[in-house]
Amino acid sequence: MKTIYTAGGILNKGFVGQISYTVCLDKEYHEMDIAFTFDKQHYTDITEELKAELTAACEGEYETEIATEEQINSAIAGMKTEIHTIATMNDNFIGGIHKQLTERHMHYSTEYTSEGCLPQESLHGVIRLTLVVFNVILDDTHYEVTLSVNEEERGGLHV
């Protein structure tokens, strides 16, 4: 596989929205891999500030109570930075990966297509990868996207 595009960035806590990358393929390919990674998915420290924020949200927006310390800790441990990926080719949807993974691949070849993606007979034209950022819980969350292609007629790299 030949890497033809790599990009990355840093996200702030609280960011919600999408970030798109567009790549114009120079010719037709038979295998393509779009990789996406990010870090800081979960809290590593459960601080008093976090606990207070959660308790306030429960009592305010949700009109419910989290009664015990254990419930609070469990709820905070379950909170996550959540970023998913959607890809289009020439403005047509070719896949979306909505899994709680910090590393994922959208892989297209004649023999294999990743779960969440639609098989493509050929790969050509304009590829757009959109990161849909649902939640970022920590500042300085790093991410990276990489697009690789294979010029070989038959590709079958199972990722």
């Binding site: 959540e82 990966i97 909505h98 709680q100 649902f134």
Partner: protein
């Protein structure tokens, strides 16, 4: 006949743990008549399911759909065969996405509207401002995963209030299945259909005419006799696996109207007859079936709204 539908299911095509084939196998074993494939933000399972059903001559039918999983709420779509982009979703104008999905022939509904969103899981609660309640087709009033009081009861009450205001909204429920979870004693959706009927068409008819039921077991069926000015309610068995009812526990029929709630005892053997006079000739009736008492914990079934 009544068909049991499971209308909210995820597979490994999104964040579920069952492959499409394993999901089919699991639902068939639980005697489900039809299911919807509603993976998060992808339709990649559709082709795999179609191929599997044809290859295996499976008796179960599939309703092709998706769960739009946005920053501000989840939107269930049935009979959606084409991906409609959602990334430009506007929290103040969900109607734009509703309309775009409907243009492709989809039935559009709000999933688990009162689920916990931020800071637990952004997007799970429906935070969008709906201005036009005619712009979508149904509300998922029971999501079996969700807390009863904080989420599902609020969903039920929201639907009831909208229908009593005259909006033509149907209701559904779902397991929000992400694995091979126990479905006994959970709510399933039921619609009327025929043995060889096209499930997509039958679901569309049911939702367009607000003729859906949800139940943990039996259905509450109403027969309106306008000349006699009464309604006969009967309890119909569905054979849903896992539903157990002690004979000693009474069933109660509850009918909510704009003016209040009428409650009567009903049994499998003895139907309940309610006169329109008792209901003060109210034009919209919302019947439900309970056992033991009429607390939400003992809600067995919700029947379609009756519009006189």
């Amino acid at each position: 006949m009544y068909k049991r539908l499971e209308l909210h299911n995820h597979t490994t095509e999104s964040d579920g743990s069952l492959t499409p084939a394993a999901l089919i196998d699991f639902l068939q074993k639980d005697k489900v008549d039809a299911f919807a494939i509603t993976d998060h933000n992808t339709i990649s399972g559709h082709g795999k399911i179609k191929e599997f059903l044809i290859k295996n001559s499976s008796p179960i039918s599939c309703i092709y759909g998706m769960e739009y999983t946005t920053y501000y709420g989840h939107i269930l779509c049935f009979n959606l065969t084409e991906y409609v982009p959602w990334e430009n979703i506007n929290i103040h104008k969900p109607e734009l996405l509703f309309a775009a999905a409907r243009e492709k022939g989809a039935l559009v509904g709000v999933a688990h509207p009162f689920s916990y969103g931020h800071p637990f899981a952004r997007g799970c609660r429906f935070d969008m401002e709906i201005h036009d309640f005619n712009s979508f087709d149904f509300i998922e009033i029971f999501n079996n995963l969700e807390p009863l009081h904080e989420v599902n009861e609020r969903g039920l009450i929201w639907w009831e209030e909208l229908v009593l205001k005259g909006y033509p909204l149907a209701f559904t429920c779902g397991m929000d299945l992400h694995g091979s979870w126990d479905m006994s004693n959970h709510y399933a959706t039921y619609i009327e259909g025929t043995l060889d009927g096209d499930i997509s068409e039958e679901l569309e008819t049911a939702i367009r005419h607000q003729r859906t039921w949800i139940s943990r077991g039996p259905l509450l069926v109403a027969a309106v006799e306008k000349e006699k000015e009464d309604i006969t309610f009967t309890i119909a068995d569905t054979g849903k696996p896992g539903y157990l009812h002690e004979d000693s526990d009474p069933y109660y029929l509850s009918i909510r109207t704009k003016k209040g709630i009428l409650t009567k005892e009903i049994s499998v053997r003895i139907p309940a007859v309610v006169t329109l006079k008792e209901l003060e000739y109210e034009p919209i009736l919302l019947p439900k079936l309970y056992h033991k008492d009429t607390r939400i914990e003992n809600l067995i079934a919700v029947a379609p709204a009756i519009k006189l």
